[in-house]
């Protein structure tokens, strides 16, 4: 039982309340290079954060996204978002996975391209449950099928929607 009135903002207990482990996690503004993902078997490419807005990027084969997600999960990264880009001219769909680290200034972009006429890719919602909604949304917008996804019913579009509005050839 917690009887009285501790932990009020503005009072000193605030500092005491912070878990010591997270205290250390507050990092300085400068990125702690070298690349903490260097030991991964996947060839990440460092990019200039000031120009791009992320630190590492990698293009993988469609089959590797789950493995990459698992690895990044182990490294303590969180899923930022999943989205698609419709490269109609090239006949491809790009699926982009953004990850961010909770303590370090580290953003990772994982891309993969799948054929536009058969847009199918494995789901990573088994690794990151948060991917569920992002994948549903991507399915809504681009019609990309996430294999093994628990529920690919329309998320933002009406329940009976069959169109994929963010495809470049979409007409309302």
């Amino acid at each position: 039982m917690n009887p009285a009135v501790p932990e009020i903002p503005g009072d000193s207990p605030l500092k005491a309340a912070q878990a010591p482990a997270e205290q250390a996690a507050v990092t300085p503004a400068v990125a702690p290079w070298p690349n903490p993902l260097a030991h991964l078997q996947i060839p990440f490419r460092a990019v200039d954060y000031e120009v791009k807005g992320y630190h590492l990027e990698v293009t993988v084969a469609p089959g590797e996204v789950v493995a990459v997600a698992t690895q990044l999960d182990k490294e303590g990264l969180a899923l930022d978002t999943i989205t698609g880009v419709d490269w109609m001219a090239e006949g491809q769909m790009e699926v982009v996975y953004d990850y961010f680290h909770l303590a370090k200034p580290l953003r990772v972009v994982v891309r993969t391209r799948i054929p536009r006429d058969k847009p199918e890719i494995d789901t990573i919602s088994g690794v990151f449950p948060g991917a569920n909604w992002h994948e549903r949304e991507t399915h809504d917008f681009f019609g990309i099928k996430f294999l093994g996804h628990p529920d690919l019913t329309p998320f933002l579009l009406p329940e009976d929607a069959t169109y994929h509005p963010l495809r470049k050839d979409f007409v309302a």
Binding site: N2, V26, G53, T81, V96, L102, P129, G130, L156
Partner: protein
């Protein structure tokens, strides 16, 4: 404070599948969903077996519009994604374009951006505070919060011309400079707000009814936050001091001294306290920024009238009032972006609701939902 519903549940044979369930459709019009979220709840009495949010009731094609409009034309849309912290959202979009087009922003503009963003954060938290209390059945705090918020809105309206959808930032700076009356008014506001926060504490934070309703309710672990990508006060309420302003510093934030309030509880109370403390920190930032506000122009010199970003993709993340908001622009070197992706915090924050609300009582789940601070158009875009 983990004992809950002990009177009602008592010795319950756990693990058995529930048999008496019914489906309760919360929303799309329901006072607790703050707009048009629909939650399909499978209930066993007042216990939630499964709460499945159904989104899309205010999907407004923001991303599609991004592909239809020039960068400048898309700018006003950003204020309407999360209308409660419109400044920060515009900031992210403007920042992404500036990053891609390598437009330098004058320091005065950056400072004013910080001031206005933080003011906006306070106003957003005030709305949340009031609406949250409304969820819990207290009406008066809402009006006190709106009262204080009006003061912020007056300040912001004087410089931007709008109360909610400011559209104040431009690529390379701001559309207007601030004047002395704004600076004076902001100082007055900071002086006014501190005792008000104290009053809020007496009225609400220490209130036994309120504490009983929040303490230990809706715990969210750090791991769950990470797995779902929850950010902002939600993750900070779970003890992780993740804040974009610290981790990926942007604008003039590195120049200010402020704390990232974290509370380890992970319950609704922790999230509540984080936001209350954030208001204090925002006031600190505003004060520092006002003290240090440099002179100079508020608009970069050479901003091309017709913006074309070099091909490639560009990201920019900001700490909005609800957490990490990131804009991702894919450009193919045309006037119109090839793809604009808006990563909104509310979507990720809500996505953990289904897991977190399992087995909770309906009012507790609504307290949890309120503590996530949802803005539905932010989810649906």
């Amino acid at each position: 404070m983990t004992e809950k519903a002990d009177f009602l549940t008592g010795d319950v044979a756990a693990g058995q599948p529930p048999r008496e369930t019914f489906v309760l459709n919360l929303g799309p019009q329901h006072p607790a969903t703050h707009g048009v979220l629909r939650v399909k709840m499978t209930m066993d009495g007042e216990y939630i077996v499964r709460a499945e949010p159904v989104c899309g009731y205010i999907h407004r094609m923001q991303e599609k519009m991004g592909e239809n409009r020039t960068y400048a034309q898309f700018l006003p849309n950003t204020s309407r994604i999360d209308y409660l912290s419109a400044m920060t959202y515009t900031h992210a979009f403007v920042g992404a374009v500036e990053r891609a087009a390598k437009i330098p922003v004058p320091p005065r503009a950056e400072y004013i951006r910080v001031i206005t963003s933080e003011l906006n954060r306070i106003s957003s938290h005030l709305v949340w505070w009031g609406a949250f209390l409304l969820d819990l059945g207290g009406f008066t705090p809402l009006l006190y919060a709106f009262d204080d918020r009006e003061k912020i809105l007056d300040l912001l309206e004087a410089i931007t011309g709008a109360r909610l959808t400011y559209c104040y930032y431009r690529f390379g700076g701001l559309c207007n400079d601030v004047d002395d009356s704004f600076i004076k008014g902001t100082r007055e506001f900071v002086a006014h707000m501190r005792p008000r926060l104290k009053m809020y504490r007496g009225l609400v934070t220490e209130n036994i009814i309120f504490r009983k309703r929040l303490e230990g309710i809706g715990p969210i672990s750090q791991e769950m936050c990470r797995k779902y990508g929850a950010t902002g006060p939600v993750i900070r309420g779970s003890g992780v001091s993740y804040d974009v302003r610290r981790v990926e510093p942007y604008s003039a934030y590195p120049e200010f001294d402020f704390e990232i309030p974290t509370f380890p509880g992970g319950d609704s109370m922790a999230r509540y306290l984080v936001r209350m403390e954030e208001m204090v920190q925002s006031l600190r930032i505003i004060e520092q920024a006002l003290d240090k506000l440099p002179a100079g122009p508020v608009m970069a010199d050479k901003v091309p009238r017709v913006l074309k970003l070099p091909a490639g993709d560009y990201c920019y993340a900001v700490e909005a009032a609800r957490g990490r908001f990131a804009v991702r622009i894919v450009s193919d070197n045309k006037e119109i972006p090839y793809r604009v992706k808006l990563r909104t915090p509310s979507l990720s924050n809500l996505s953990l609701f289904e897991e977190a609300s399992k087995g909770m009582l309906l009012p507790d789940a609504l307290a949890l939902m309120g503590s996530l601070d949802l803005v539905i158009p932010d989810i649906d875009r």
